[in-house]
Amino acid sequence: MNIHFKLFSREIRVAFKRWTDALTGFILFFLIAILFPLISDSNKEFLLTIVGPIMMFSAFFASMLSMQNMFKPDFQNGTIEQLMLSKGSFVSLILTKTIAYWLFTSLPLILISSLTASIYFVSGSGILIIQLTLLLSTLTMVHINAFTAAITLGIRYPGALMTLIITPITLPILIFGSKTIENSILGTDISGPLYFLTGMMMLSFFLGPWITASALKISMD
């Protein structure tokens, strides 16, 4: 356990040093979200119909932008190799790293989303549902991002390729996430898509680190 804690606190310290990474995603999320009401005819009915897709899209976009640096610096300075050789299990170390990464890049988005959602005239429990949806889906997406970042590690300009790999895997989460928000605004049953998101979140938690670890091993040798 000790080694996980050490890794975790190290990740946090490094993240503070590279605060621009987290901030970029944060600003992007906020800007995309408030841009739509600004540039379109901002009547309540219209904004309420588009809030679901826009929330999901901006979260997807923001997390995608910051993920290129998920393993790259650690790969270059040899930290990943160290982790691989350390006596703790590599898979659980990856999980620790992913969660630390999520705390820095996605948690701020969820906190600010209450503000952005109210720009779209969402109120009361709707905001909570949006935050819950974002919580579940970013927790899933961070594992997908980790996998993609790991598998494209050795490539110099992975941007376009990452998008191509990440889109088909993430698409179901985006669809079901915006479905949840849409249903909660229409006042219909949200349990179906919420179950799906929870299931995907659990699946990515239990399988994601294994897959990411094997992708890293492939990229290393």
Partner: protein, 140 residues
């Protein structure tokens, strides 16, 4: 704990987690990602303040009316239990006919008539030549 036990525990926890996750996902499949709702379900939504949605059902035989010289048409959509009156202006797909499965997109107006902005025809998985179809269902 021996490393062997730790590994075993890890695999066990993973398996349980994956099973629960798959169960959750499968249970969500039952009522989710509906491309359309049936007329009976649509009737319940009639008084809600709603956005556009889709209804799928059969065009009731004998209900189709078209205003002469215009694209405006009116028909009743049914699932055998409830029925919904639909109003549509535009070109209908080739498969559209009475008794056919149809999916309409739109919303209810104040007269409880469904104003459709799009009409799509749904085809079932049966293929047969006209003469065999006539033998099977002499009425149609």
């Amino acid at each position: 704990m021996l490393p062997r036990h730790k590994r075993f525990l890890g695999i066990l926890v993973t398996l349980i987690g994956v099973t629960v996750a798959i169960a959750l996902i499968l249970s969500s499949f039952q009522d989710n990602l509906l491309y359309y709702v049936t007329p009976s379900e649509a009737i319940k939504k009639i008084d809600d303040d709603q956005s556009k949605f889709r209804i799928g059902g059969l065009v009731e035989v004998g209900s189709f009316k078209r205003k002469d010289g215009s694209l405006q048409s009116r028909f009743v959509l049914t699932d055998g239990i409830e029925s919904v009156e639909v109003n549509y202006i535009g070109i209908l797909p080739d498969l559209f006919r009475e008794g056919q499965g149809i999916i309409v997109t739109g919303k209810f107006d104040k007269m409880k008539i469904f104003i459709a902005s799009e009409v799509l025809a749904k085809h079932d998985e049966n293929y047969m030549p006209p003469d065999i179809h006539a033998l099977k269902e002499p009425t149609s």
